[in-house]
Symmetry: C2
Subunit: 288 residues, 2 copies
């Protein structure tokens, strides 16, 4: 069965090269896309209060806010800066009415020149656990759920050292209420334990009164992939069996948004953004 078109959401990175956030909001309205997930830098540029008003006036709802995280740091000052920045991200997510703050947890601690300052991956993972625990003390009473997004293992060093849904589920089990997971196809499609871990998340105790499964992000894995970061494919152009994973999500009780998030420097970021949004709608209906 084709997915409900009203579940479609646009992660604003998908057309970030072409449009500023106000244009993206207008584009969503024009294309009948009722949900979006904006990025902090775009919101900062457009103004937080202005953006909140624009989104409300347009009748759109958020599927998430991108992003908090980046917890590991090489020293106490770095850890404190990450803590403070994450609290600001929670505040912004609340101001925008986001259902969750998405966490890209960070990789190895970095030095002042942004180079890895340690090879202690287990230590970075401990910093992530501690960082989320500390942020929960702020986010839980404020009513903002945190959503851990496991990232593909090729980002373990520099973006996120939580690289499997099993690891994210383990963190949720340990940290308790207020924290859930995002399932992004690009990052987890290869995982032989994916079906089992989606089911496990679905069975978990409620988080902030809802499911631990807080988001479902769509794109595709291209063969060949020409860049580690900026060569994601449009749904249907790659090798991911999207309906199969969606069926696992639905069997686990997920009824939330289908958020399209495509970083594509050489292809989709070069196209007319109206074509991109029309293609997202069409592919969502036909191949997801």
């Amino acid at each position: 069965m084709a997915p409900d078109p009203s579940l479609l959401s646009l992660n604003t990175a998908t057309v970030r090269a072409q449009w500023a956030l106000p244009e993206i909001i207008d584009g969503c309205v024009r294309h009948g896309i009722g949900r979006l997930a904006p990025w902090r830098d775009q919101v900062a540029k457009a103004g937080l209060a202005d953006t909140a008003r624009r989104i409300r006036d347009a009748g759109l709802v958020l599927s998430g806010y991108c992003r908090g995280g980046m917890f590991p740091a090489a020293d106490a000052a770095g850890l404190a800066a990450a803590r403070d920045d994450n609290r600001r991200a929670v505040d912004e997510a609340l101001a925008l009415g986001a259902p969750c703050l998405v966490l890209v947890v960070g990789g190895l601690p970095k030095d002042a020149a942004d180079r890895p300052a340690s090879k202690d991956l287990a230590g970075a993972r401990a910093m992530v656990r501690d960082g989320i625990a500390t942020l929960l003390d702020y986010a839980r009473p404020a009513g903002m759920p945190l959503a851990i997004e496991p990232l593909h293992p090729m980002y373990a060093a520099d973006r996120a050292c939580v690289n499997t849904l099993a690891h994210a589920n383990d963190l949720c089990d340990e940290l308790g209420d207020g924290v859930g997971v995002i399932v992004d196809l690009y990052h987890v499609w290869w995982d032989p334990d994916l079906a089992e871990e989606i089911a496990r998340a679905g069975r978990a105790p409620p988080v902030a009164g809802g499911s631990r499964l807080m988001g479902f992000h769509l794109c595709d894995w291209l063969v060949p992939t020409r860049d580690l970061l900026l060569d994601r494919g449009m749904m249907g152009d790659g090798v991911i069996d999207i309906p199969r994973v969606r069926s696992w999500m639905e069997a686990a009780g997920y009824r939330g948004p289908h958020e399209v998030e495509i970083f594509s420097a050489a292809d989709w970021w070069q196209r007319d953004p109206d074509e991109v949004l029309a293609t997202c709608r069409e592919r969502h209906a036909t191949v997801c």
Copy 2:
């Protein structure tokens, strides 16, 4: 404690851009590297019998033979071709006196134009299991152990759909004697279960009278990594805590070769190959 220098082995891909196999053999002798792991295409070019004689005359021993595998196929003819080609690889490994045939198991089935012909990852994994089982019927009585090398998840679609040591261990448990695993740092360094799965392989029943742990491949993960295939780092230039993983291997009883395998189109393949070999020796002694 620094590793035993006599365990150092050269995977011949490390200088494949500069030298043919006879030159690589001479280079190993010149640099006091007593072990090597050649690739099939290099052996074919130099001649199988000639290569076997050269290696013997040089007093070198093999740490493995690269490579069999690529089991999934889009039709029966493709599966049969893979089966026959893998049997020839076993014969060559025997002729060269290799301790094992390394398996890069293949990704999704491909069409005639070498493009993915299916999105059925679970189906590809079943083809891999069946392909190894069939090859074992040939390799086991011939006395040639098969060594499954889990590849990094970024190769799941096009090179190998066995992407974790846990999956490789599961296959070994299922398939019984005659098949073991290779631990290649590049592919598995990110895995939160790595220590546990190395220990599990060490505890497994003997394979062909030896350990399930059939090889330990060294290189490093660079930040940033600029190419998905050909941007591996020299040991010490990246973020992998190599001594820590070596300690896990040794705690699991591994006493075998340390095989350096670096694909590096823009850096090490551009250098004087004598410099590359000297650097392998020096880094093995100082950072591994």
